[in-house]
């Protein structure tokens, strides 16, 4: 800081506290609603203090789901989301790191073409090719399956670029030394490159985990069996079906359950998360 200005310091903290209030308030309100009974909303406005129904509400959602709304138990959907998020993160990292390895450490015909094809995925988000992609997945018989949830979304240009940039900074001498000692390409990859990429892999894992967890349109398109629902699409169904006589307490408990796992990941691994976020956008 250049000079000391007490009023400006006060203003700074004031603005930040207001900002945090704005960011936290919707979630606070949702949490309050999730601890209330259904009749607490009849007065026409949300109560501002916690009620006593928290355990019942969450218990009902986790164990049996909202039976009258046709939403499956949240425990099942949370499990599906967890499986999808982890498989997407691992899949993206695995196929990206080996393709970056091929692009940086080998020269082969059509290398540049391959690189550009991978680059194109950046320009084709799922939203612009909904129907034909759905058709491909349907033709392959991958509707209502974990492979259908995961495989079509694990191509990743950003992860490939990140590893490519990182590999380019690895000193040439490492590979030369490995070659002199008689290590083949795969041995070099496993014993030297992979350990060196540990931090990058961890940072990327966090970003991709959140990406996988928060997928909405894709699971909504390809799952029609409740057994494969993920939690993020599940809460929307809960809200939509209950709309006639919305059980706000259950809907908001669902929102909290869907949002909590990735938020906890960010809070406890903030340093890695920030690294991952900043690096993937370079």
């Amino acid at each position: 800081m250049v000079e000391n200005r007490p009023f400006l310091n006060f203003l700074t903290h004031f603005v930040l506290i207001i900002g945090i209030g704005m960011v936290v308030f919707p979630v606070y309100l949702a949490f309050i609603a999730s601890t209330r009974g259904p009749s607490d909303f009849l007065t026409g406005v949300v109560p501002m203090t916690p009620g006593h129904q928290m355990l019942e509400n969450y218990g009902v959602l986790l164990g049996t789901g909202a039976s009258n709304a046709g939403a499956p138990p949240f425990l099942l959907m949370l499990g599906n989301s967890l499986a999808m998020a982890i498989l997407v993160a691992i899949g993206k990292i695995a196929i990206s790191i080996i393709s970056a390895f091929a692009i940086v450490y080998f020269r082969f015909p059509f290398r540049t073409v391959a690189f550009w094809i991978i680059f194109m995925t950046l320009m084709l988000p799922i939203e612009v090719r909904i129907l034909p992609t759905y058709k491909v997945v349907a033709d392959l018989g991958m509707l209502n399956s974990y492979s259908g949830l995961v495989i079509p979304v694990i191509a990743s240009a950003t992860a490939t670029f990140l590893f490519r940039q990182f590999f380019l900074t690895v000193p040439e001498e490492m590979m030369e030394a490995a070659r002199v000692d008689g290590a083949g390409p795969m041995k070099f990859f496993w014993d030297i490159l992979l350990p060196l990429s540990r931090t990058n892999i961890a940072a990327l894992f966090i970003i991709m985990f959140i990406y996988g967890w928060n997928q909405y349109l894709w699971p909504m398109l390809i799952t029609t069996e409740p057994g494969y629902y993920t939690v993020v699409m599940g809460i929307k169904r809960l809200a939509a079906v209950l709309d006639g006589d919305t059980q706000w307490n259950l809907v908001m408990a669902g929102v909290i359950l869907a949002a909590l796992p990735p938020v906890l990941v960010i809070i406890f691994m903030q340093r890695l998360f920030v690294k991952g976020l900043v690096e993937t956008e370079k």
Binding site: V2, I98, P125, P132, P152, A155, Y216, L217, M252
Partner: protein, 294 residues
């Protein structure tokens, strides 16, 4: 394109290494995209039995469709609204966090977590806050004599989705602005202070110009976000209504194609969206390399 000075000699191995990524890209990205382009030149007869080649007819029809033109306007207003609101707030918070010394980590932690909240959840959170029958905001507005109803009032619906989308994006912009502010050399602000510039003047004449690469980069990212990643927010909060007032392009493709099964016109819309992404990606990559410099 760059490789290492010396490379491994292997004829087949690199193809095996790159095959999984390429295969998935071609099967699930490139092939469907080609299909969409092809479909956009066809029109299906009413019974879905036969496709006829109609050239650009789907596109000309699209550009004469008042609903589509409305969707373009809506998307434009929405993207600008989200970008300005979330970038403005995050810049303000970033400046403040950059000023405080001891509690920086504390404030940062409390500001970044909405990044992890799913867009659909964010849509539902604000839908609840603004709900005309139980929401807190309509309740407060009522006391000021304003009756809020985003189910009937198009402007209210637009405000709702802009706030819900901007809320989620604040943390992202905030992190990049903080990084940008921290790379502004202290010697410059100190020199300006010695010359007698106050904090506000210092910000606008020294710091803000140096932030312009970050600002530009974030503007592109935010527009991309508002156009393509906000589908769940719209679906959860307004479903495109009332009377098409929040029907952004991405939502319209879904509604016309997947729900309405209007194949040709929907494919034409997809192709227009692809062109927009291509332009945004090219802008992003060109300018990040060149940077906006003074």
């Amino acid at each position: 394109m760059q490789t290492k000075r010396t490379v491994f000699q292997s004829r087949l191995l690199p193809y095996f290494l790159i095959a999984p990524q390429l295969l998935i890209t071609i099967v699930f990205f490139v092939w469907p995209a080609v299909q969409a382009v092809w479909q956009s030149f066809l029109r299906q007869d009413p019974f879905g039995l036969k496709d006829t080649f109609v050239g650009l007819a789907n596109y000309t029809r699209l550009l004469q469709d008042p609903d589509y033109l409305n969707s373009l306007t809506v998307t434009f207003v929405f993207s600008i609204g989200v970008t300005v609101l979330s970038m403005g707030l995050s810049l303000l918070f970033a400046i403040c966090v950059n000023r405080v010394i001891r509690s920086q980590r504390f404030y940062t932690t409390l500001l970044v977590w909405p990044y992890a909240v799913a867009p659909a959840a964010s849509g539902l959170l604000w839908w609840f806050m603004f709900n005309p029958s139980v929401g807190i905001i309509p309740y407060v507005l009522e006391h000021f004599g304003y009756s809020w109803n985003h189910r009937l009032n198009p402007n209210n619906a637009m405000i709702l989705i802009i706030i819900a989308a901007a809320w989620k994006q604040i943390s992202y912009n905030f992190l990049f602005f903080v990084a940008g502010l921290q790379s502004v050399p202290h010697s410059l602000t100190e020199a300006a202070a010695i010359d007698g510039a106050g904090p506000i003047k210092r910000f606008w004449t020294v710091v803000f110009p140096l932030l312009s690469p970050t600002t530009f980069f974030l503007a592109v990212i935010n527009i991309t976000y508002a156009m393509f990643d906000t589908f769940p927010i719209i679906d959860a909060a307004t479903s495109g209504g009332p009377s098409q007032s929040t029907n952004i392009l991405v939502y319209k493709v879904y509604a016309d194609g997947f729900v309405g099964l209007n194949l040709g016109p929907s494919a034409a819309q997809s192709v227009v969206l692809m062109l927009i992404v291509v332009v945004l990606t090219v802008v992003q990559f060109r300018w990040i390399e060149r940077k906006v410099q003074y």
